[in-house]
Symmetry: C2
Subunit: 340 residues, 2 copies
């Protein structure tokens, strides 16, 4: 099943069921007016939503209308929780190698996770707003899941059962603000502005054999200014599965339905700077920081600049037939001071 939230002027938007081919959708106000409502009442709402989904795919839904992913907000325009893991250890290894720091052994068994801001997500086609290019604006292309209610101390198996939806995310990072902020010891705050999620969120069963042990085994496609930048497989080198990340988040507290748990920047182990770029046959990168780390390790200093006002980022994932599963995140970096 595929779900999306259309912008309608309200804070939480309007839930729609979307056809598998992303061509049609149907609002479902009598089942669930919003995504959070559907998640709050999943056991009763999901069977009815699935019926609509089947009708949409058959072309026989009475209330079908054309689906336009450009009209979408993030599936949850605001959420009660956004917690982002760092499950692709290769990314962490490169970060630390670039600054000559050792990898603590615990990093391979105890997930890194930060609590993010979830009150003001932006839509998948909305600008990435910043007040200054000097903040060091970077994309981070990731996969995320949305959970149902999870009890404190849930097992990995229980956590796996609580995964309701899967989607993509651009977890924007302000790289030049990170060193000072992390030095203060309390984690990210100003360095993590509003994230955007893919137009469509899908149930795990929709991913078929590509959803395996709560990992999504397909390439994540990233473009910067319409040029291919990354295509790593999100199911490869993911040290911690989504079930493990959810269980980690629930170790000392209950998670409320609608909690969004991210994978961290997708990153596959590769050779060197030369061989890792898409142009040279590599799988590329899901954030600019990663190519800058390769550059630092091999040349002593980063060469590639962060995003500038006017730059565009596109994040998407296709199925084995080349069809977009989630629709595309496509954002242009804009100066917040010059917004309309």
């Amino acid at each position: 099943m595929k779900l999306a939230t259309l912008k309608d002027g309200s804070r939480d938007g309007r839930l729609v069921v979307v056809s598998r081919d992303l061509k049609f959708c149907q609002a479902v106000p009598n089942i669930a007016p919003t995504m959070q409502f559907a998640l709050d009442n999943w056991n009763t709402a999901a069977p009815h939503l699935k019926q609509i989904y089947a009708l949409l795919n058959q072309g026989s839904a009475s209330g079908a209308q054309p689906f336009d992913e450009k009209q979408c907000h993030s599936p949850l325009p605001r959420a009660f929780q956004w917690a982002d893991g760092s499950a692709y250890i290769n990314h962490v290894e490169l970060v630390r190698k670039a600054r000559n720091a050792d990898m603590p052994p615990s990093f391979y068994t105890d997930p890194l996770m930060y609590q993010g801001g979830s009150d003001s997500f932006v839509g998948p086609r909305d600008p990435v707003y910043a007040l200054s290019e000097d903040w060091g604006i970077d994309l981070e292309a990731e996969v995320a899941v949305v959970t149902g209610d999870v009890k404190m101390g849930a097992s990995v198996e229980e956590a796996a059962q609580a995964i309701r939806l899967v989607m993509l995310v651009n977890d924007v990072s302000l790289r030049n603000l990170i060193p000072n902020e992390l030095a203060k010891g309390f984690g990210f705050f100003n360095s993590k502005p509003a994230s955007a999620f893919s137009p469509v969120a899908v149930t795990p069963d929709e991913l078929g054999r590509h959803w395996e042990e709560s990992r999504l085994r397909l390439p994540l496609l990233v473009q910067i200014n319409r040029q291919p930048f990354g295509k790593p497989n999100a199911g490869v080198d993911m040290t911690f599965s989504f079930a493990q990340l959810v269980a980690h988040a629930a170790q000392t507290r209950e998670l409320c339905a609608g909690s969004v748990i991210g994978s961290g920047t997708v990153s596959n182990k590769q050779g060197d700077l030369h061989g890792s770029s898409i142009a040279n046959g590599g799988v590329g990168y899901c954030c600019l920081a990663e190519v800058r780390m390769y550059e630092t390790i091999e040349t002593g200093a980063p060469q590639t600049s962060f995003l500038k006002f006017g730059d565009t980022v596109r994040i998407e994932m296709n199925d084995q037939t080349g069809k977009s599963i989630f629709g595309a995140i496509e954002q242009t970096v804009r100066n917040y001071g010059e917004r309309a």
Copy 2:
């Protein structure tokens, strides 16, 4: 104006306006069914809520019913944001002195703030649940504000105008989990379980002359197992005002209505361990960690233990006539594995 949320079996509870003396309340489903709804629509809802408040205080509200703070959930049972500052620098100075670390000069000008989990707050009379006493369960008595919408880069003056409500909070901390978690570099996560807020949230004007430059100048009263433990003045030694904390939170992103911003553990500068306890004429402490830091500084090791299952914590604030402003947070520590 005073507002509260009664438990009614739903996730967001039922908004009520509460009389100044906390004796009566009235549900307002036609104005705002929930606290988040009121905050989302503050400009239209607040004048109507104030009318009800005036009638309640006059004893002439048609729908008045007895108010029982034991029936309350936290004013926002779940919120889209909970960010907690560390505005009482004395607390940070003691933390660092206890481990022989210097205070970075930036700590006096750049607020410490962490992003907390806001999806599953507990009610003011609900248990503090944990799976193990070994987690080092500690209270943190604080003041918090709830904001309206705040634009990115808002000034301190704009932030002050966006403060809608004031309340108390018990920001439970799991002290024994903190060192390992902070060493990972991504801030608090498992070490910060569900927080509880006071039964009643009040508008700043309700605090009269005690609300000054967005600081709340009254003693915060803390009991542990019904014995006085702390009474520091929340308006004293607060290095950063709430307006400064809100502006800090909004530096790189918009804040959505209903964002909860905390002060951090209230802490007044005092002399030594002996003189700081209430029994010896001091103002005491708002968390066990603070008395343990005094003990560490003066005797080389902490003596006081953290909370055990069965211990109770009470947090309250009275006006100058001794009447409770917010109602009381009163929580017993319980084993989550033995809950009903």
